[in-house]
């Protein structure tokens, strides 16, 4: 663990990313403190440019505070990104592990399914799912998880497939170990690194999908989100550029920070594997 932290902290951009994420989490947690009240509510003069009428980042046509929206939206983005990823990783790991380990028909079916998911335009599919299920936090999480799990399944399948024939796994067979124990106790710990890396990168993608859905008007109508802010502000582009600009920067920074951390994790976790395997 200390080893890992040392390697991770050597990567300066990854540490920077971690810092940004930390700040965004603080912002999300402290939003009710600094911006009490409903972020959808009227907070003052409408269409105020940044810095005027007491608005740090300006206000929109309905007098909503952009800064308050960003602070409250942080929680939405992070939570949806995280929960959708956890669901997708769980499904993906189970499917991938079964397919990679047992092969045969299970594997064939899974591969065809993931191929199908690669073929269908995943964002359009997510739009469809949310539209059919009616926009809500749950339907958004389900839609993102449904379009994301095949990538995890493919990765885990590949890992299990290569470990299945590794000699140490065969040695477990020769001493009579059960399949479940081999999968969970022997193989899975060896593929945690790539799963952690793909998971962290998926949080970023999930946030991008969520903001896209909200931009198209498919966000949960009761919850403030960055994509919604931009979607609501696009008609004001000519007169109030700040309404769209700042939430966009928030998305950019969050996704960038998560990607940086993901890459840092990849660099810190993978050489260890290589060194051990060689």
């Amino acid at each position: 663990m200390r080893d890992f932290w040392q390697r991770f902290s050597r990567n300066r951009s990854a540490v920077l990313g971690l810092g940004i994420i930390f700040l965004i989490i603080v912002m999300a947690l402290s939003a009710p403190l600094f911006f009490p009240g409903d972020p959808f509510g009227l907070a003052g003069k409408s269409m105020s440019p940044p810095g005027e009428s007491g608005f740090l980042l300006g206000s929109d046509s309905l007098g909503r505070d952009v800064a308050a929206g960003i602070a409250h939206g942080a929680k939405t983005s992070l939570l949806i990104g995280l929960i959708a990823t956890i669901v997708a990783v769980l499904i993906g790991v189970i499917m991938g592990a079964l397919a990679g380990y047992y092969g045969g028909i299970i594997d064939d079916l899974l591969m065809r399914t993931t191929e199908m998911f690669q073929t269908i335009p995943s964002f359009v599919f997510a739009i469809l799912l949310v539209a059919i299920m009616k926009p809500s936090i749950e339907s958004i999480v389900i839609a993102i998880a449904v379009v994301s799990w095949p990538a995890v399944a493919r990765l885990v399948r590949g890992e299990f497939l290569s470990f299945r024939n590794r000699e140490f796994v065969q040695a477990c067979h020769t001493i009579g170990m059960s399949d479940v124990r081999i999968m969970l106790g022997e193989i899975l710990p060896n593929c945690l690194s790539p799963i952690i890396v793909i998971g962290s990168l998926m949080v970023a993608t999930a946030i991008l999908i969520e903001s896209g859905l909200a931009f198209l008007g498919l966000g949960d109508p009761n919850i403030m989100s960055w994509g919604f802010q931009i979607g609501a502000g696009r008609t004001l582009l000519r007169s109030a550029w700040w309404v769209c600009t700042f939430p966009g920067i928030a998305i950019l920074l969050t996704v960038l920070a998560i990607n940086l951390v993901g890459e840092g994790l990849n660099d810190a976790l993978n050489p260890r594997l290589r060194e051990r395997a060689s």
Partner: protein
């Protein structure tokens, strides 16, 4: 078996493999439609204001919802094969007609985006990999990192703010100037191209970043292979090693990825077309979404999936000409 017959067999095999996938997509579409149509009855009945049970039943019969499920599926499959995707009550037109009208603008946007993203991605990746750890590499890597994290719709809006509203270089929306009535073909083409610039840049940025990163990584990986040492041991120049030996091998994963990403590109076009009011499939999807016309949305979804299958086949053909190791099972 020589190379060309092998290639043909490979492509045929891939074509055959696409059949069950297309079938699965159609079946899945049917079930989604089934969920959506029940819904539509309620919506339409509610809108009509006279939700008598007789009217509801009449509507259900009109949608075929009173039939048993397998029969409905069979009817749906038959309809899909004859390219009958149902009727859009909002537009009062058959769905297939609506979609066909929008194919060309989307195709235009997709082709220009793929060319820009893949072409420049390969170029930038190449430049970054050959100048490893120089300022060129750093600049390209930072550029890729940032564009990789930017939401498409935001890029589009910002480009509009800067280049349309402030600088006035490009139009904010649409595909052509409807008031111009060009009688000369080239004038019209120029007009469309002018409108195409911002949407194309917006849609390609993310993929440009993706291909740049992929190409860079792929080049570096190939650079460490044994055959590069062999080529050096033969006294081949570094230029030829980079541009002939390494490049061709490094392109393989990029080509594969270009195929895989077509689906994502269509998803992106929904956003970009709605930002720029580009009259393509994506814009149609956005309108359908807005009007809660799920039948139309499903039709677009089905067609875009088929489009991806077709593009992937083209990618397979390109791939088979680059990699002699294709397997024919």
């Amino acid at each position: 078996m020589n190379h060309s017959t092998r290639r043909i067999r490979y492509v045929l095999k891939r074509l055959l493999q696409a059949v069950p996938i297309v079938f699965a997509i159609v079946v899945m579409n049917f079930f989604l439609l089934h969920m959506a149509e029940g819904d539509a009855v309620d919506v339409l009945a509610g809108e009509a204001g006279s939700a008598t049970p007789e009217y509801m039943a009449e509507l259900r019969a009109k949608f075929g919802l009173d039939q048993p499920l397998p029969v409905q599926l069979a009817v749906y499959l038959k309809n899909v094969i004859t390219f009958d995707l149902g009727y859009s009550f909002r537009h009062e037109m058959p769905v297939s007609q609506l979609i066909i009208d929008r194919l060309i603008p989307t195709g235009l946007l997709m082709v220009s985006t793929i060319l820009l993203a893949v072409g420049f991605g390969i170029l930038l990746g190449l430049v970054a990999a050959t100048g490893l750890n120089t300022w060129r590499d750093t600049a390209i890597s930072i550029f890729a990192l940032i564009t990789y994290a930017t939401p498409l719709f935001w890029v589009g809006l910002m480009l509009i703010v800067v280049f349309s509203l402030n600088l006035g270089w490009f139009p904010t929306s649409g595909m052509e100037d409807l008031m111009a009535f060009h009688d000369n073909f080239w004038d019209r083409a120029w007009d469309i191209a002018h409108h195409l610039v911002l949407p194309t840049i917006t849609l390609s940025l993310f993929y440009l970043a993706l291909y740049t990163r992929l190409m860079r990584a792929s080049m570096l990986e190939q650079y460490g292979q044994d055959y590069v040492t062999t080529a050096r041991a033969k006294g081949v120049t570094e230029q030829r090693i980079v541009f002939v030996h390494v490049l061709r091998n490094a392109l393989l994963p990029v080509v594969t990825m270009a195929g895989v990403q077509v689906g994502a590109l269509i998803g992106g076009s929904v956003i970009v077309e709605s930002v720029f009011a580009w009259p393509g499939l994506g814009m149609l999807a956005f309108e359908a979404l807005f009007a809660r016309d799920l039948n139309l949305l499903l039709g677009i979804f089905l067609l875009s999936a088929l489009l991806v299958v077709a593009v992937n086949l083209v990618v397979d053909i390109i791939y088979s000409s680059l990699d002699p190791r294709i397997e024919v099972g």
